[in-house]
Symmetry: C2
DNA sequence: CTGCATTTAGATAGATCGGTCTATACAGGA
DNA sequence: TCCTGTATAGACCGATCTATCTAAATGCAG
């Protein structure tokens, strides 16, 4: 079953937006790389902004699905750690050159409220799932733990791009372990 | 002494690039906001890319100067903490909407090797200074400490934009304290 | 006052931008 | 077979992009 033209456009646009930036990637380059014609894009998406929104939504759904799968497979009490590890796996496979949501927030901050809000919501969604994992692991008595882990994951996005995957993920694990050890040592 | 036209251009371009992005900010908007004419810009900078490079260099120099000043004023053994605090001050005053170097890396990754390298060098420069501070505080037996602190600072860049300055800086201090406490508890 | 460098105003260039339009080709289902 | 939805090819639009050019005005130093 070959991918639909719409899926080809989404995948191509995601790659180009991620590699070259949103404003620097023109419609012509997207349709040429996707092997379709200009009107096909506008047949599926009413505007470039709508295409950007669809790309971000689809990517975030895949991201969340991989996190949820890892958490579901993790033993009780290990949900938080599984989430952090799954985040690392995602960086390794799909996001070695910075977070696309962070890039979108930067490029659309004063240019499209909708896109900026969408990207910001993706980030706070990760935070919310971290909070849920911390609660399921019985660590939510440690106020702000999820927020601190979130900050570490955000830092690992940049660290991967600057220091390489191996180093960045090892450091992420180390800091995560330290934070979790502190949280577990405190009796509720 | 009024600012020179060149300085006006640098300051205006820095603000617009930071708020609206690099590719989304046109030459016309920069010169209009700076109150000069287009040829004045091209009289001082050979191209937009050169203007971007000059903006990033000037901003990084100011950033490093404020870090160095804080470190110089800090008591012995407190250099690392002073550097982290100075970074927080910088975020609070000038960088509440994400790191301009990270934005530049995202927008110029496949568009200008020079700009991308410049922004990446600014980031690794911060890491190098963290390593120097850790060494001066006698904590360099704790392998990777500087790298982990660096990752936390990178995360705080994003956290400030998403969770607000107060929360992000408090979390940064908390994680930093935890990492430093662990390092200090290990005898060299 | 003169001379030089800077700044101004504005036209201009060629390329690219996002987006629209028409006419044609082609597929699969009724 | 015909009909409908989708894709194609390509012209076209106005706007904007970076960059260059000329000619006049301005300001400051010698």
């Amino acid at each position: 079953m070959p991918a639909s033209k719409r899926d080809q456009l989404l995948a191509t646009a995601e790659r180009l937006f991620y590699e070259q930036g949103f404003h620097a990637t023109g419609i012509d380059r997207i349709v040429a790389a996707a092997g379709v014609v200009r009107m096909t894009l506008y047949n599926h998406f009413p505007s470039k902004e709508a295409l950007v929104a669809a790309v971000l939504k689809a990517r975030h759904e895949r991201f969340i699905a991989s996190l949820e799968a890892a958490m579901a497979a993790a033993a009780p009490g290990q949900k938080t750690l599984a989430l952090v590890e799954a985040h690392g796996h995602w960086l390794e496979r799909y996001s070695q050159h910075g977070c696309i949501m962070a890039k979108a927030m930067g490029e659309f901050a004063e240019h499209s409220t909708e896109i900026h809000a969408l990207a910001a919501a993706a980030k706070t969604d990760l935070l919310a799932r971290l909070e849920a994992a911390v609660a399921r692991d019985g660590l939510d008595h440690h106020a702000g733990l999820a927020r601190r882990l979130f900050m570490v994951l955000e830092g690992s996005n940049t660290a991967v791009a600057l220091l390489g995957v191996q180093t960045a993920l090892a450091d992420t694990r180390a800091v995560t372990d330290a934070l979790l050890a502190t949280a577990r040592s405190e009796t509720p």
